[in-house]
């Protein structure tokens, strides 16, 4: 077994330390080492976006980032989005619009939408569709997801 590296990073605003093998992806580290299972594995090759997280302000597929690459960086995951008694407006909008069915893609879509609204608070429908094209949903046909993101933008 490869020697494990020590990594220190900021995760959802808190400093965390972990050990991981050089070959372990950030997705594996989040799920298997840190037990944050909100990011999902749908393809493990960057095609589906179910593992979307925000790394130093930039949307990434955590399956395409190595755990060791997060040294000294800041990682935001779905688990850090809601306050103790209040959901993030995007989360509220997903619930109110029934923008999920099975829910497996939902954390990825919400992180992706957050990254969009962080840099473009008033996107058009086309901009939402363009931005979210890296996230696959097989249940909803995307209609209610796009509406939820537009609603969340309007509510801000």
């Amino acid at each position: 077994m490869a020697r494990r590296s020590h990594v220190q990073t900021t995760l959802n605003g808190e400093t965390v330390e972990f050990l991981c093998e050089p070959r372990q992806s950030l997705l594996e580290v989040l799920r298997d080492e840190l037990h944050l299972t909100g990011a999902k594995e749908g393809c493990n090759n960057g095609n589906c976006g179910a593992c979307s997280v925000i790394l130093d302000g930039r949307l990434v597929n955590s399956c395409l980032v190595l755990g060791v690459e997060t040294e000294g960086k800041s990682v935001e995951t779905i688990e850090g989005l809601a306050g103790p008694d209040k959901l993030h407006p995007i989360q509220d909008a997903f619930l109110e619009n029934a923008a999920l069915q099975c829910g497996i893609c939902t954390p990825g879509f919400i992180m992706s939408a957050k990254a969009l609204l962080d840099q473009n608070p008033n996107p058009t429908e086309h901009e939402v569709r363009y931005w979210l094209a890296g996230n696959l949903c097989r249940c909803t046909g995307y209609d209610k997801i796009v509406r939820a993101v537009l609603d969340a933008a309007a509510a801000k």
């Binding site: 909100g38 749908g42 959901l87 029934a98 497996i104 996230n135 097989r138």
Partner: protein
């Protein structure tokens, strides 16, 4: 369109009960399960589409540090010739076992051959590369007509065609033949002024759920086997694992975790028995996960098919006869959905003379599994295109010809059943009245198409128990895994009975030891049948509560009535108590109340849909864009309209993917060359417009609130609707799926 005069909860749009967990990442899906001492399993899969296994040597894998166990088909009990009925019809147990781990032959690339449990997933993967399998490679059979040819290589030396009660003498790749006949087709065609006969080919497509299959198993020293997994039916996992491992169901507990999509593809088991074998051999919990390529190559797609449809009509547009020939690829083992395809193909029409022949044919592709209205979309692609051509040739509006021939109550389907009250006419009329249908659409290379579809829906067994809480809420326990909001749609039916809010119901989906038998979440049955069980359980609670009120007031039960959440006495005494206040007094009136409901309802109501689509065809590239999409569907009664719309939109979009992009692309060796989400191109949100879902409500007489299943029928019309729109745009009839740019360019004579 939606009316909601008679109900307080049904027809409203509450936040789903599992919603917060699912938007915060807290909901636990199968792969999220963790246990102390967990081992990780991986499966070695065949690199060949068709080969005999000469030998398997696992010694190099077993020698790798960290490897705890390796299993092959030798670790499965001998299946013999047993035929098991697993609720999905009779299944040859040898075929079922061989699909779990191949014994003598591998029948598709991706067929499971061996599995490893190791201390981490990377070691398990590495160990798989150290299993030495010697194969004798055989020629693959990759297409249904090729497989039916008399000189085709045989997949199964002992498979003989079963045809209407007779079994052939010689082995064949044709597992079975069915025929439905109504009236006198020959006479019907003789009466026709116009006869159109066309042939159609559809590709192999996958359900495409985002969550790969997963299973964690643990054997206790007392022989208790527990399996945590995502599945469409915990009880069917229990049954299949019990049959495959020859193990009593009483010693198996299946815990359904949240499920990340299924669409029919998570009914069959693949790695669950493998996880159980590895757990038994190691004494440790073992988690087995598939990767995306495993899912494409090793789990059920829905079949490719070859279809011929012939229909005749008078010049006034009355369809006088219809004939269909359906040859479906079953994949490696018999069991394609050609049966349901044959049941549905002409069901939107009232036709007196019909003949339908269906063939179930094995080929060297993964064993097919159900996919949303299995069989019906393939069939409707053929029939709905032919209906469109008849309408066009006769100069009749395509929705008008559907109205002229629409199936209605009392008509007989070609496979036998007589339609009860159905909403076929209503969906066509709603499509015709929709502004989309009359909106201008005259641009060059723009076209509009319509198509209808039918799915019969099913009932089957469901169980629900309700525990009444002292604060006026109820805990509802169910066995139907929730793929798309059914906790809400089931809870709302119980709430309606008891006059409480949807939020006053706490629904839980529990394991097989904790609720009565419940069949799979499939067949569009969950809101119908489990909702029915919830209705019955709530009625049971209501009856018991009435008895408590009667006791409290010292009156006869017949003198207590319940309305609007209030119990009151009639005939003399002026007593009144709310549901909530009576809940607080259960202790003093006899103790807790548990209500139960179990059903196996026969009254599942068939569902109809009619879709309208506008497309633009790019003449240079052959790419088809969807400009506007309207999907009209009879839901019977929409319990939670948002999730009904969601089913309609999702089904339509899966159909759009099937129509335009999706297919398994094979090379000559039978290897799928596009086993990733990048290359197996499912629609993204950038490919689509909003999908206008229009709910029609023609109540199903077989359900207390009129519910029809809604999940499946929306995938039936899209392929033909889009093909008809492409014809309208460029004047070319597309008869092969998917209608990808290369096929469009060929059809337009550009390449």
């Amino acid at each position: 369109m939606l009316e909601n005069k008679e109900y307080k909860v049904i027809g409203t749009r509450p936040i789903r009960h599992d919603g917060v967990d699912k938007v915060t990442g807290r909901a636990l899906y199968g792969a999220d399960f963790q246990a102390a001492g967990l081992l990780h399993g991986r499966v070695l899969r065949s690199p060949h589409a068709h080969a005999r296994i000469i030998s398997i040597d696992t010694s190099r894998a077993e020698a790798l540090p960290g490897v705890k166990s390796v299993v092959t088909a030798k670790d499965l009990p001998d299946a013999g010739d047993k035929v098991a009925d697993l609720g999905e019809g009779a299944v040859n147990l040898k075929h079922l076992c061989d699909n779990i781990l191949a014994s003598d032959k591998v029948l598709y690339k991706g067929h499971a051959v061996a599995a490893v449990a190791a201390t981490n997933p990377h070691i398990a993967e590495e160990a798989c590369t150290r299993i030495d399998v010697e194969y004798e490679v055989l020629p693959p059979v990759l297409e249904v007509r090729q497989a039916m040819a008399p000189d085709a290589p045989l997949l199964h030396e002992h498979l003989k065609t079963a045809s209407m009660g007779e079994t052939a003498d010689e082995p064949s790749n044709v597992a079975s033949h069915l025929q439905h006949k109504l009236g006198d087709p020959e006479k019907g065609f003789a009466e026709a002024d116009i006869i159109i006969e066309r042939e159609f080919v559809t590709g192999t497509v996958h359900q495409g759920y985002i969550e790969p299959h997963n299973a964690t198993a643990h054997y206790n020293a007392d022989g208790q086997l527990t399996i945590w997994c995502s599945t469409q039916g915990a009880f069917t996992v229990r049954e299949q694992v019990a049959e495959i491992l020859q193990y009593p169901i009483s010693k198996i507990k299946v815990v359904p975790m949240e499920i990340g999509g299924g669409f029919g593809g998570k009914i069959s088991v693949y790695i669950k028995p493998v996880a159980a074998l590895l757990a038994k051999k190691t004494g440790k919990p073992v988690k087995v996960l598939m990767n995306r390529a495993d899912v494409f190559e090793g789990t059920g797609p829905t079949p490719a098919s070859y279809i011929r449809v012939k229909m005749g009509a008078t010049k006034e547009g009355k369809i006088t006869a219809a004939e269909a020939y359906l040859a479906f690829e079953a994949g490696a083992y018999p069991g394609s959905p050609v049966g349901p395809g044959a049941m549905c193909i002409f069901a939107p029409y009232s036709i007196e003379n019909v003949i339908i022949d269906g063939y179930d044919v094995v080929v060297n592709k993964p064993k097919t599994a159900p996919y949303r209205a299995p069989g019906a979309p393939n069939a409707a692609f053929g029939s709905e295109t032919v209906v469109d051509e008849i309408a066009e040739k006769l100069g009749i509006d395509p929705l008008e010809i559907r109205l002229l021939n629409a199936a209605k109550e009392g008509d007989r389907r070609a496979d036998g059943p007589v339609h009860p009250r159905i909403g076929c006419i209503e969906t066509v009329e709603a499509a015709k009245a929709h502004p989309h249908y009359t909106a201008p659409n005259g641009k060059k290379h723009h076209g509009r198409g319509v198509a209808s579809g039918y799915w019969f829906n099913i009932g089957l067994e469901s169980s629900v128990t309700i525990n009444v809480n002292s604060d006026g809420t109820i805990n509802l326990v169910e066995g139907s895994t929730d793929i798309g909001g059914t906790r809400a749609s089931i809870a709302m039916q119980a709430a309606e009975v008891l006059g409480i809010s949807a939020e006053s119901v706490n629904p839980s989906v529990v394991d097989t030891n904790s609720v009565g038998y419940t069949a799979v979440t499939g067949g569009s049955r969950t809101t119908y049948a489990t909702g029915y069980a919830a209705y019955e359980a709530a009625q049971d609670v209501k009856r018991q509560m009435i008895a408590r009120a009667a006791k409290l007031w010292e009156v006869d039960e017949a003198n207590v009535q319940f309305a609007d959440g209030e119990f009151s006495s009639i005939n003399g005494k002026e007593e009144q108590i709310s549901f909530r206040d009576l809940c607080a007094r259960l202790g003093e009136t006899g103790g807790p109340i548990v209500g139960s409901g179990t059903v196996n309802p026969g009254g599942a109501g068939g569902a109809y849909a009619t879709h309208v689509v506008d497309v633009a065809v790019d003449e240079e590239t052959g790419k088809v864009d969807i400009l506007r999409y309207t999907a009209v569907q009879d839901a019977g009664k929409a319990i939670h309209p948002s999730y009904v719309e969601g089913q309609i939109q999702g089904g339509a979009v899966q159909g759009i993917g099937w129509a335009l992009n999706e297919e398994y692309i094979y090379n000559a060796e039978g290897e799928m060359t596009n086993a990733s989400f990048l290359d197996y191109r499912m629609p993204t949100c950038l490919d689509l417009p909003m999908i206008d879902a229009v709910i029609v409500e023609v109540p199903n007489p077989g359900h207390p609130y009129g519910v029809r299943g809604v999940g499946e029928v929306p995938i039936v019309p899209p392929m033909a609707a889009i093909a008809n729109a492409i014809y309208d745009a460029i004047g070319v009839r597309m008869t092969e799926l998917p209608m990808s740019p290369d096929r469009l360019l060929k059809a337009m004579g550009k390449i």
